[in-house]
Amino acid sequence: MINLETPKKFKAIVHSAQQAAENVFRPISRKYDLAEHAYPKELDVFAAAMDGMNAGDKANAAGAGKLSQAAKAGDGVRNGANMQSVLGLEALCWGDVGLALSLPRNGLGNAAIAAVANDEQLERFDGKWAAMAITEPGCGSDSAAIQATAKKDGDHYVLNGEKIYVTSGKRADLVVVWASLDRKVGRAAIKSFVVEWGTPGMELVRLDHKLGIRASDTAHIVLSDCRVPAENLLGSPEVDTKKGFGGVMQTFDNTRPVVAAMAVGVARAALERTRELLDEPGDYDRPRWQQNAAAAELLALEADWEAARLLTLQAAWMADNSQPNSKEASMAKAKAGRVANAVTLRCVELVGTAGYCEDELLEKWARDSKILDIFEGTQQIQQLVVARRVLELSSSELK
């Protein structure tokens, strides 16, 4: 039965997340935008409270570490951890995207571990905060071109390489590093390795200064002869050229809807605030061209936003119901990323001088939103994924 409302069972958690966004994130939002790289210590208390909530309800726990393609479990529709995480992140990012990204123990590395780790690893890394290190100075979206190497040496792997744009790279306990076992083989040889901070050979080069999400630390890391135990490799150690990228890319099917949800959250913040500030907020019933220009524009933006939100929920719903969702996850991320950027920028313009000044958070949201159309796969990468699926073309046909 078609029902696209927020499920009743998640109303409470969405309410809690919205309360946290309003009462924990918003009051310190500008503070950590200005104090880039300062650790938002207020989040420790909040994260502990969140861990407590999840511990009390293991079956419905949300967060990056709980994202995975649900195993098929009988008939009937399921609304599970993917949807809950999407709903929760949407609300938190209405508060502040940078702070939501800084939540301890909810890094993208946690999502990678959840997607591909074995039971022993799941247990060993439980409760740790894991960042994700994929991008390098010479490769971004083309992650098959990764230069970092991992060489087997006894019961260890020796990692060498340089990683940039590692979100929470300094604050996390662990960094999930993507490296190649054999650069001649290409993508099939790329594996992910869990490296604990403190492991000799992994060094922090610097933290980047950014356009937005300044509350989130973005690390530049170098690995030189960094030895990690062989059991820290996630997934299969075999280089299977037939399976190729499947394992590591699976992570994205689950994390893209979450990043899309973040975009939906910040866009909602901008829409709501703009509606508050405009004296004529618009009327759903009357034709938009009978209303003033700002109100008409706001209606169009809201329609775009709602479409992005529903695409996001659909992608999460599919993951919860064991339906392959690569296409839909990328559709959601593409739409939400561009809509959030367009909405936040337009809202600054609609509110005008007040929207552009630091007295309002609108200008900050318009800076924060840009990254949401870039990380976890740029707009163009999402379109490439969708286009290949829709047109049924291979990566050698549609490059």
């Binding site: 039965m1 009743k8 529903l310 286009a387 073309l393 490059k399």
Partner: protein, 438 residues
């Protein structure tokens, strides 16, 4: 056609409906058995009444209303029900076998052939929407099912969908707000064996039309109401047995009036437009036309809700537009893979492939918006906002998809050998014309 006994005609109609696979699979046989009883007792006769003044065909002591959906929707769910999947499947087959192939001729003729409208009607769309007590087989509101139906038909041609579903929209309005007498008069006919052309007339000529501030007026008159004004883009205008005309009533605001075409000597003017031509669009002109008091839908004390009427019509249009956009995607996908330029399929170029990807993305977004609005209506939740957002996206993204459909075919898209130019013209209409109330 031999003259049939009235009871025989009614039984004949119901037997045909009872034989529909969709009815049997859904276990609606029981509801139909009761309908047969009522229908046989009233002895109504479908089809031949269009030329007469309409009168009640069944006994209804109180209006037969449909309740909101009974099944509680606890979970977020994007799956169609069995009934919806079966309707979609049946319509998909009809579209592929017959309707899509007839769309070009219907566009040129500014009318969808009666045989096709009858074939669509034979699927049981209207009977499944009309309450049991009023000659149909419905037990609750089903805007989602109607949206799915509109979407499936819209894939053939948006104008054809508007023609085929105009009577459904009328039936839904009469079911929701009509008096017992109005229901007894019109619903058995709309749910009968023969396709009964009827349409809503909301839009008015001229720029800046506002459905909440109508220029067409219905002033109280000693014999009822005096209707004055113009309506445009009315589907099935020439053939409709009656119209539901929206007019501004002093003190009451916008109301719908049942206007029988022949008994009031209405002479519709054909109104060919940029697109939606298969809908058989026309203009109606009323100059102090005196209507009986009982022509007002629901009567002056009825619970008519104009906001709901507009919102449900917006959902109907958005849903049909989703189908038309799906036709675009289905058409351009193989085309760009077959069409070669610079020695390889144009689909191998990102500039082309990304346009296709964006069609897929915006189409699905629009579909979900439409479903959400319909589903809220079904569950009895407020839905005017969601319907408005769906309509806005249908106007913006529907047109974007329409224009990119032509663009992807290049010069071939601009000529009438391919259907994309027709869909382009139709999709502009999605922002302007009135859809069937779901």
């Amino acid at each position: 056609m031999p003259k049939l006994d009235p009871q025989g005609a009614a039984l004949n109609a119901l037997t045909r409906v009872a034989g529909l696979p969709v009815v049997q699979r859904l276990g609606l046989d029981k509801a139909l058995e009761r309908t047969v009883f009522h229908g046989a007792r009233a002895g109504f006769r479908a089809g031949s009444v269009a030329r007469k003044r309409f009168k009640p065909l069944i006994d209804l002591t109180k209006p037969a209303r449909l309740p909101k959906a009974s099944a509680g929707a606890a979970l977020f769910d994007v799956s169609l029900s069995d009934e919806q999947a079966m309707f979609k499947d049946a319509i998909d087959r009809l579209v592929d076998d017959q309707l899509a192939g007839a769309a070009r001729a219907a566009d040129e003729a500014c009318a969808t052939p009666d045989e096709l409208l009858q074939q669509i009607h034979d699927l049981g769309i209207t009977i499944m929407a009309v309450p049991e007590d009023a000659g149909g087989a419905a037990s609750e509101r089903s805007p989602v099912t109607h949206a799915i139906i509109a979407e499936a038909l819209g894939r053939a041609d948006l104008g054809m969908a508007l023609a085929a579903l105009a009577p459904l929209g009328v039936a839904n309005a009469i079911t929701r707000w009509g008096t017992a007498q109005q229901q007894a008069t019109y619903l058995p006919l709309l749910a009968g064996e023969t396709f009964m052309p009827a349409a809503t007339a909301l839009a008015e000529p001229g720029p800046k039309f506002d459905p909440f501030n109508l220029a067409c007026t219905a002033e109280p008159h000693r014999n009822g109401y005096s209707l004055d004004g113009n309506k445009t883009l009315v589907p099935l205008a020439q053939s409709a047995a009656f119209y539901l005309v929206a007019a501004q009533v002093p003190d009451l605001g916008p109301r719908l009036f049942i206007v029988e075409r022949e008994s009031h000597d209405i002479e519709p003017r054909p109104q060919p437009a940029m697109g939606l031509r298969a809908a058989g669009l026309g203009q109606l002109h009323f100059s102090n036309l005196v209507l009986p008091e009982h022509a007002m839908l629901g009567g002056p004390d009825g619970a008519y809700d104009h906001q709901e009427f507009v919102a449900l019509s917006r959902i109907g249009m958005a849903a049909a537009a989703v189908g038309q956009c799906q036709a675009v995607l289905n058409y351009v996908t193989p085309y760009v893979k077959e069409r070669k330029a610079f020695g390889e399929p144009v689909a191998y170029r990102q500039s082309v492939a990304f346009m296709v990807a964006n069609i897929a993305i915006e189409l699905q977004g629009l579909r979900l918006l439409t479903w959400r609005a319909a589903s809220r209506a079904e569950q009895g939740l407020p839905f005017a906002r969601e319907a408005a957002l769906a309509a806005l996206q249908a106007a913006d993204k529907g047109m974007e998809i329409g224009t990119n459909g032509v663009q992807l075919l290049g010069g071939h898209g601009f000529v009438k050998e391919h259907p994309v130019e027709q869909w382009y013209r139709n999709l502009r209409g999605a922002a302007v014309a009135t859809g069937p109330m779901v």
